[in-house]
Subunit: 361 residues, 4 copies
């Protein structure tokens, strides 16, 4: 309950700092009998892994996950699953300059005021490195959801000023940006190369889609599926906005245009993004998230130190010039974790519900 | 945990249907010694109350709240506070047509698949009438936050296509739209009058601002302040998007532009919306929410019935042509509840933290 | 989370003071489709109701429960169920003497230190009157459990020094003590009559039994079924001890004697009380609880006032000379709520488990 | 929420099987600034460690704990603390006999019905080995509580039929039984030696005492301090009963005898065990727990296999003939964790309460 746990029935509790010995997670509530191996988790971890292209941080971490419990003879037992990734590339450096300074737009200042102490090495707990465990836990959720016919996939829909229309899922993994249109990749590479020369960073937009979700997931009032999705997605480092379906475009729409009409053959549109009254409708769940530009840039910035004195801060080290580039697997993980939790919650209460009405898509 | 509770330490649990005997809430975790009366709660309830202008639903509900427990001799005792509002204007009508049909873009279809049964009278539990209890509970949170120097206020920042720049707090309560610019009210009235003639509905955008929030509220990783704010705000009926600070505008921004630099005199900007690394920075917390157009319009729409047959549905009854108009007090309530919960959570763990670094605004 | 909620999936949140306007509860997570009426809840409430014999408090409360939400056309809808009981016999009296004094062995002193304020009228929130809502909520759980073949029943197994061996369920409701042996009732009546003449009070022991519980309920490690039962039962006013199965008698037993052997025809004994490793075994769940003597007796006692001065306190008013007498329905309620919560939790995770091994009883 | 987490604000989430690669825990919610090292945790782990006398299991585990996160420069940072103990003495053996059989009075049968699968090596998750992580987490709680003047200590108060009156804290750690009376140790040794010759096991009773607890800890109604203590203590393997203060002896007591009178110099007795109305009174918190005899004995027992056939089971391996012998540090840990959680919960809500009434002891 102190911030490091996500979910109510399928829970993920994480620990670990950027420059500590290891990151870890406990995944509790996984149904028994699910085939699970380190290799399967590794696939998603490798998609998030740093240092795989010149457009991301050059920290070299294998992010090799170990399963410490909860799996016996290749399948889950229903007990808690311990996961661990050891940090290997914690390049030692001199922190004496930054230990008493607050990097602008970082969590340094707010952590300092909250706790009175912070692990200043590489951002400590506020580092995006923490998201590795979300991806590992999310991979377990994805594997189970797949057994239920549910898939969760994402892509980059905007890089800085460059909007990217969806073309094909097949293209997403053929480039370092999770770009769904192969014809746009060169443009993105050129943009990123210029950005590095400018010693600056930029924001991005990521879209996540869940297909095959049965109608009925989500709880009324406060724990709506879209509300918990917003919680999960907004909890990712650097996210500043979340939309479900049409999102902010709904503001200027009229009801006659926005409402998704139904026919026996299916819904005629999906402006709602697959959620009605907080509960899944059976259509694809569609969410968009806005990621701010990385705060760690080498251009000097004005700030203060712990005594309140003015200082000029230069953020050195190995940083992503666009955190959005590696965010797609993390967003998928948070959507998968949210759906998994709600699938179990729905089952708990409504196991006996039988409905004859056909499921529309 | 089944959806009708919000918060972890300052919790609100609600019940009640649109056409049932009463709505109610239990507010648990309120600090003792807070002066509290029904009159104080009523002020916010009256701001959300239907039927106060021609631009909202004509249902006439006094929304008179009763305090049933937790207050003794005019102050809170620290025990759970029971609240109740009796429904008085549950106009009886013939539901035989709609009981087996799903109104397009309503929760009818998703509730039916979830529970196999639904209270079809006026939307039952999925009715926006449920938000009355959020406002009552939020008013308690606001009263306590005020004792700590924290204020939570909101306004309408867009009505359909009409964007409204913030002018002055004083203007917000002088018009039925919570419009912060008195010179724009006539335009809004004209727009709404035309909308009613068109028998259509429209979306809106609401902005909420918390001032005086101390730095340090929010928990790392999953329970970030912005993530829980997103949860709370997205849980409001009809909300399809949430932004913190610059929100989706961050996508196209560069780090050198977005980052909020600090000087001993204060922050130089507030693109972050008052949250750094998920923890309040001491700046104003700023959130925007997108509300979709009301689904209940009198223009016929295509749908299906419980047997899967095609039907044409006309939504009669008394409905808001723009749910966003009455949403400002609800958004304030959800922000107040979120801050209140995090204030208590922060205190629990960090009561002994003393920091000499000055608080910037 | 602040103390007034029980359960994780089937949750009960209560409010209300002894001398306030009403008691209430919100029951969340009930499966939809369960037939439910006020009459069915009233049956259990009447079993707990004060003033039905000369051996309990003479406060005359009809304890008439109202269902305010969550039930439509006679069945539950799956949304939160609001319950309320109005207080009618709040005899006004002069509290000026006791408002600044702490009655010995009451919650007065601990509430005062916790909250700095307390509702001194009749014990406020710490009054056993609060348990009425537990019984109402427990009655809902019992009704659902009955649809699954599970019954929860209790009886008084000791009154002060008088131990009562179980004879027959049929006898339990034919006397005001929930005594399972009709031949012992006269002895109990004589004991209580003498106790009242002595102006004293006495403790009691109650036994609760759940039959028909399927194997598999309960979670490993911390949320074991027996641990959560102990939580629920110990949370009843005046309870000072809880045993599962043999309880404290296990201390002096040897393993060869205590262990419950199994044959294809069933278990050969039930020393464990139906729980193995924290998970139900399919045998009857058996729990015993010890209730202390009522603290409210008319014999004067030494105490202090809020200023720390010595005072002599006489507790007037209408009190139960043995709170254990009315405790049986409350204990049943807490066991039913615990089982209900665990039934739903088990379903959530293990819905797909199929086992060929026969269930032993 | 799926069973492997304890606490609401100071939470402990554990994982690990008896014969898996490691045990681990995540401790979340610890106040920042607490000096913490592996050595300090090791002290309590060594007290629980197997193989330190001939009276406990001969499994040889160093139980060496590693801190993986949440501590920086020797003090806690307020973020989640990852703990790990690698299993080193997982003696490989042939499990083919027992994998399809249920050992009587073990969790084998109930786990099998719950999950349809179980890790049969050494009991898997149901092994008492799991309690090592409780002790490590409890040691953190103890260290913090010590900074608040609160100490938690325990001792063995009964071994099988031998009752042990408390003599002195100093004696407790000078013998392998946590016996508080040095004159009784020889008797205990002789009893245990005979028990091993009998190839049998026996139960025990352990008493835990917390001193220096301020009045006010505990929440009303469901989350009473005694109820959550009962939860925590009953969740320990083999515990079948929990008493607070006088416990079951209260049943036969009269109110005039049981009630703890107060004078300006202090309470005149502590029958209540330090809890009034579920809230700490400032007196010592006293709890007793009954542990059943170990089920693993080498005397053959009747049982069934997974197909329902009758089998005779002999439990080989290295087992404690009396699990109660090593239970004292575990009981202390669960009481410390419960108090720690309630200390933080109390602070959250009541940080501003100031009371002039003196604290009695």
């Amino acid at each position: 309950m102190s911030g490091n746990t996500f979910g109510k029935l399928f829970t993920v509790t994480t620990f670990g700092e950027s420059h500590g010995p290891a990151l870890g997670a406990v995944v509790d509530g996984c149904p028994p009998g699910l085939p699970l191996s380190e290799e399967e988790l590794q696939r998603d971890l490798d998609r998030r892994r740093p240092g795989t292209s010149r457009h991301t941080t050059q920290r070299r971490e294998p992010d090799q996950v170990k399963i410490l419990s909860g799996v016996f003879e290749g399948v889950t037992t229903g007990t808690s699953i311990g996961l661990m990734i050891e940090n290997t590339d914690q390049r030692s450096k001199d922190y004496s300059t930054i230990k008493d300074q607050f990097r602008p737009a970082h969590a340094d200042y707010s952590y300092h005021h909250k706790y009175g102490i912070r692990d200043y090495r590489g951002g400590g707990r506020s580092s995006a490195r923490e998201t590795a465990m979300r991806v590992a836990a999310g991979a377990i959720a994805k594997l189970y959801l797949a057994t239920q016919g549910i898939t969760v996939r994402g892509y980059m829909s905007q890089l800085g000023p460059i909007e990217i229309a969806f073309k094909e899922w097949g293209a997403v993994h053929d480039n370092p940006f999770f770009c769904p249109d192969p014809t746009r990749v060169a443009e993105l590479e050129a943009y990123m190369d210029q950005l590095r020369r400018d010693q600056d960073s930029v924001g991005a937009k990521v879209t996540v889609v869940a297909e095959g979700v049965p109608p009925g997931l989500g709880e009324p009032v406060f724990d709506r599926l879209d509300a918990e999705l917003a919680h999960g997605l907004m909890s990712i480092n650097a996210v500043k906005g979340v939309e479900i379906g049409e999102g902010f475009a709904s503001v200027a729409q009229r009801g006659s245009e926005h409402r998704d009409e139904m026919t026996p053959e299916g819904f005629l549109s999906n402006h709602a993004g697959g959620v009605l009254g907080g509960i899944s409708s059976g259509q694809s769940i569609v969410a968009h998230l806005a990621l701010k530009p990385t705060s760690s840039i080498t251009t000097p910035g004005r700030s203060i130190d712990v005594h309140g004195n003015a200082v000029e801060v230069i953020t050195k080290g190995r940083h992503d010039p666009c955190v959005g580039i590696r965010a797609t697997p993390i967003a998928e993980a948070m959507m998968a974790l949210t759906l998994m939790d709600h699938l179990l919650r729905h089952r708990a209460q409504n196991a006996e519900v039988r409905v004859e009405t056909p499921v529309l898509r």
